[in-house]
Amino acid sequence: MNKKMKFSIYRYNPEVDTQPYYQDVEIEVTNLDKKLLNALVKIKEQVDDSIAFRRSCREGVCGSDAININGRNGLACLTDLAKLKEPVVLRPIPGLPVIRDLIVDMTQFFHQYNSIKPYVIDHNQMPSRERLQSPKDREELNGVIECILCACCTTACPSFWWNPDKFLGPAALLHAYRFIADTRDEATAERLDDLNDPYKLFRCHTIMNCADVCPKNLNPTKAIGKIKEFMLSRVI
C-alpha cells in the first residue's frame, strides 16, 4: 500500500531566515508508516536532514512531539497518517516562541507548571512504611496523573494566548488539581489561596479546546471546574 503524501512544513532557522516560510515535501509512505512521526522521520532521513522537531518514545508517553497538525494540536506519534487531509500542514504549537522549525521554547509552560508547587506537601513526620490511601481516594487521581506535559492543551487555549504570563493554562491547572485532590497533600488551603486571583485560574472560560486536543484524552476543564467547586465550598 505505497502511496505518495504531500506535506507543507513550517521552517524557520534564526541563523539564516529573516522570516518563516513553508516547505513543500512529498514522500512515499508504506503501510509500515502508520503515524505522522514515521513520515517525519522519513522526511528527515530521505529529503532534508535540516528539518528540526523533537521526538523520543514514539508511543505517546514522553510528550516530546506535540505539533500543530492541519490546524490542530496533537502528538505526531499518535496521529494516523491515513486520517490526514493533504497537504498535511505542520506548524509549531502556537503561543510559544519558536526556536527553530517545529521546536518551540517551553520555558513559560514549565514556569507555569513549577509555580503550582507540583509536589505533595505533607509536613508530618513520615511513617516507616507507606502512608495509607484508600483505592477510592487514589481513584480521584485517575484522569490527571496521566498528563505527559506535551503542552497540546495549554497552547490550544485562547485564554493562554491572551494572557500567557498571568493565566496558568490548562496543563498547570490540571496539575494544581492533582495535588489538591491527593488525600496525602496537606496544603489544599494554601493552594486554593494561591489560585484565588483574577487571572491564574479564573481566565478559564470553558472553551474546552484543552480537552478537545489532549492526546491522552484527559479533561483539564473538568479539573478546573473541580478546583472552582473546592473554592466555592470553602466560601460557604
Binding site: 532557522n13 534564526p14 541563523e15 539564516v16 509500515l32 502508520k34 503515524k35 528527515k44 532521513e45 530521505q46 532534508d48 536532514d49 535540516s50 528540526a52 522537531f53 523533537r54 521526538r55 523520543s56 518514545c57 514514539r58 508511543e59 505517546g60 508517553v61 514522553c62 510528550g63 516530546s64 499518535l78 526556536i99 527553530r100 522549525d101 521546536i103 517551553m106 514549565f110 513549577n114 508547587k117 507540583p118 509536589y119 505533595v120 513520615m126 516507616s128 512504611r129 507507606e130 502512608r131 495509607l132 490511601q133 484508600s134 483505592p135 481516594d137 487514589r138 487521581l141 496523573i145 496521566e146 505527559i148 506535559l149 491527593d182 496525602r184 497533600d185
Partner: protein, 588 residues
C-alpha cells in the same frame, strides 16, 4: 580555540530515574549540582516503564528480601554480583516507601497499602511459588515514578541544563575524571564543564537493534563516551529481548499483562509456555519466555499470514480489570494495531528491550576498572547508575521490575558516594588538562567540515539490520563471526559520516550524528563479546554452546575499544551479610 568553562561540584549526565534520584540526594545535601539532559527530564525513557517496581513489601502475602535476592540471582543466571544484589534487594522496601513519600501515586489495596501484582520470576520460598511483589501505578509505573522524582527535584531547586548532550569525559594525567564536555543544542555551543564528581545516568542503547521497545534517545551515549575515554564496558553481550513487543511497531506491552492473568498462545491455540516452564508458565524469566516464543515461531507455529508472531490473550480478564490495571496497554493496542484487547488477543514478538551490561561499577555507584593487578580499581571522580551501569545486579538476564528499583537504589547510592567523595576531600577542583575539550571540538568540527560521505540514515539502518540478524535471540559462531566482519566494515564507513545540515541552532541532524558515533561503539562491543562468550547463559543463547559453562564463563566480560581487547573478571560470589547462593540449574 578555547571553549567556555563552567564549574559544578557535581555533574549528572542524564535526567531519567537514576539521574533524578541522584540529583535529589546531591541538591538536598547542598552540593552545587547540575543535571544535563538531552530531553526535558520527564521525557526520559524511564517514562515508558509500565509494569512495576519490585519490593518485598509483603502487602498481600508473605514475602521478604531474601526471596527477592534469590530470584534476582537466579534470574541473572548467576552472573550477577551477589553483594550488589543483596544491597539492592535489602534497600527495595525503603526505596518504594520513599517513592510513596515523594508522592508517587501507587495503586492501592482495600486496606490502603500499596497494591502488588505477580511478575516474571517473582517467587516465594526460594523459587517455590509465585508471589505478588511488583508495586505499580496501573501500567504506567515508570511515568508516575519519573514525574514524582522530577517534582521532588522542583521542590529541591535542582539545576537542570535541558537539551544538553554530553560529548566526552575529561580525565587528567592520573586518569581521574575532572569534567565533561557538552553541547548546548539550542545554540550549538560546546562547553567544558569542570567537576569534582561526574555521574553517568545515560540509560540504554536499545536502538542498536531494528526491533526495539526503546525510545529514539536510547543511543548508548554514556557507554560510547566511556569506551572512547579508554575505559572498559562490562557484559555488553547481554541484551534482554522482551517477550511482548507489539508485532511490527515494537512498542512495549508490559509483562504485567501476564502478571494479571494473560497468557501466550501459538497458532494451534496452545498455551505453549506450559511445556517450557511447567511451574511459572507465562511468568518465567524473560529470556526463557522469549526463547520459547522464538522456537514456536521458528518451528512454524507462529500466527498470522507470515506465521511470525504469537498471541497474547487477555480478553478473559474482563473489561474492568483491563481498564483498571492495564489501561495503557489497551490504548497502545488500539493506537498501533487497531485491536481492542478486551475482545481480541495482541500479536507480540520478542523485542530488544534492555542492556544488562554497561559501565562497570560497584554497589556504591563508583566506576571501577582494571589497574595493575586490581581488576576493580575505583576511577576517581567517575560514577554511573541505572541502565548505563553494570553493578552488576542483572547479570545475564534482568527480572521485570528490577530496572526501576535499580534506578532509585543505585541513583541514591551513587549520590551518597559523590557527596562523601566531595566532602571528604573538601576538594578544590582538580586542574583541567591543557587540551580539555579539544578532542570533542575536533569531533564536532569533523562533522561540520564534511562535504560528502556516508549517509547517517543509511549507516543507522544498516547497523540495526546487522544487529538484528547477527546478535538476536539465538546466536551461533558462524552468524556472530559474519556479524563482526559486517559491523567492523560499517564502523570503518562510519568514520566518514556525513550530514548536510551545518547550522548551529538546534541542529538535530548533528545531534543524531553524535549519537550514532556512540551507538556504533555499543553495537561493535556487543558483537565481539557475544562471539567470545562460548556458552549459553541468561539472554545469551548460543545454539552451538547450549549449556551454561560455569567452569570457564562464570565471569564478567570487560571490553576495551582499543585493540578490541577482552579480559574477564570474577563474579562477586560473596554477598554482604548472607550466605552465598551457589549456582544451580535454572528451572521455572
Amino acid at each position: 580555540m578555547s571553549l567556555p568553562i563552567l564549574k559544578f561540584e557535581a555533574v549528572i549526565v542524564g535526567g531519567g530515574g537514576a539521574g533524578l534520584r541522584a540529583a535529589l540526594q546531591l541538591s538536598e545535601a547542598g552540593i552545587k549540582t547540575v543535571v544535563l539532559s538531552k530531553v526535558f527530564p520527564t521525557r526520559s525513557h524511564t517514562a515508558a516503564a509500565q509494569g512495576g517496581i519490585s519490593a518485598a513489601l509483603g502487602n498481600i502475602e508473605d514475602d521478604n528480601w531474601h526471596w527477592h535476592m534469590y530470584d534476582t540471582v537466579k534470574g541473572a543466571d548467576w552472573l550477577g554480583d551477589q553483594d550488589a544484589i543483596e544491597f539492592m534487594c535489602r534497600q527495595a522496601v525503603d526505596a518504594v516507601v520513599e517513592l510513596e513519600h515523594y508522592g508517587m501515586p501507587f495503586d492501592r489495596l482495600e486496606n490502603g497499602k500499596i497494591y502488588q501484582r505477580p511478575f516474571g520470576g517473582h517467587m516465594a520460598n526460594f523459587g517455590k511459588q509465585p508471589v505478588r511483589r511488583a508495586c505499580c501505578v496501573a501500567d504506567r509505573t515508570g511515568h508516575a515514578m519519573l514525574h514524582a522524582l522530577y517534582q521532588r527535584n522542583v521542590k529541591a531547586n535542582t539545576k537542570f541544563f535541558v537539551e544538553w548532550m554530553a560529548l566526552d569525559l575529561i580525565r587528567n594525567e592520573n586518569g581521574d575524571v575532572v569534567g565533561v564536555t557538552a553541547l548546548e543544542m539550542e545554540t550549538g555551543q560546546v562547553y567544558v564543564i569542570q567537576a569534582k564528581a561526574v555521574l553517568f545516568a545515560t540509560g540504554g542503547a536499545g536502538r542498536i537493534f531494528q526491533s526495539s521497545t526503546n525510545a529514539f534517545i536510547n543511543t548508548g551515549d554514556g557507554v560510547g563516551i566511556t569506551l572512547r575515554a579508554g575505559l572498559p564496558v562490562e557484559d555488553i553481550e547481554f541484551w534482554q529481548f522482551h517477550p511482548t513487543g507489539l508485532a511490527g511497531a515494537g512498542v512495549l506491552i508490559t509483562e504485567g499483562v501476564r502478571g494479571e492473568g494473560g497468557y501466550l498462545l501459538n497458532a494451534n491455540g496452545e498455551r505453549f509456555m506450559e511445556r517450557y516452564a511447567p511451574t511459572a508458565k507465562d511468568l518465567a524469566s524473560r529470556d526463557v519466555v522469549s526463547r520459547a516464543m522464538q522456537i514456536e515461531i521458528n518451528e512454524g507455529r507462529g500466527c498470522g499470514p507470515n506465521k511470525d508472531y504469537v498471541l497474547l490473550k487477555l480478553d478473559h480478564l474482563g473489561v474492568e480489570v483491563i481498564d483498571q490495571r492495564l489501561p495503557g496497554i489497551r490504548e497502545i493496542a488500539l493506537q498501533f494495531l487497531g485491536i481492542d484487547p478486551i475482545k481480541e488477543p495482541i500479536p507480540v514478538v520478542p523485542t530488544c528491550h534492555y542492556m544488562m551490561g554497561g559501565i562497570p561499577t560497584n554497589y556504591k555507584g563508583e566506576v571501577v576498572a582494571p589497574f595493575g593487578a586490581n581488576k576493580e580499581e575505583v576511577v576517581k571522580g567517575f560514577y554511573a547508575a541505572g541502565e548505563c551501569a553494570c553493578a552488576s545486579v542483572h547479570g545475564a538476564n534482568r527480572l521485570g521490575t528490577n530496572s526501576l528499583l535499580d534506578l532509585v537504589v543505585f541513583g541514591k547510592s551513587a549520590g551518597n558516594s559523590m557527596i562523601k567523595f566531595i566532602r571528604e576531600h573538601d576538594l578544590e577542583y582538580k586542574e583541567l588538562p591543557k587540551d580539555a575539550g579539544e578532542f570533542s571540538l575536533q569531533r564536532v568540527q569533523k562533522i561540520d567540515a564534511s562535504t560528502s560521505g556516508e549517509s547517517l540514515a543509511e549507516l543507522r539502518h544498516e547497523m540495526q539490520r546487522i544487529m538484528q540478524q547477527h546478535a538476536g535471540v539465538f546466536r551461533t559462531q558462524k552468524v556472530l563471526m559474519d556479524g563482526i566482519e559486517k559491523i567492523e566494515a560499517l564502523y570503518a564507513r562510519a568514520q566518514n559520516l556525513y550530514i548536510k545540515d551545518k547550522s548551529k541552532v538546534f541542529n538535530t541532524a548533528r545531534v543524531e550524528a553524535l549519537e550514532f558515533i556512540n551507538t556504533i561503539e555499543v553495537a561493535l562491543a556487543t558483537m565481539i563479546c557475544a562471539e567470545a562468550r562460548k556458552e549459553s547463559r541468561g539472554a545469551q543463547a548460543r545454539e552451538d554452546y547450549p549449556e551454561r559453562d560455569d567452569a570457564n564463563f562464570m565471569c564478567h566480560t570487560l571490553f576495551y575499544r582499543d585493540g578490541r581487547k577482552i579480559i574477564y573478571k570474577d563474579v562477586h560470589v560473596a554477598p554482604l551479610t548472607v550466605d552465598y547462593i551457589p549456582p544451580a540449574k535454572r528451572v521455572y
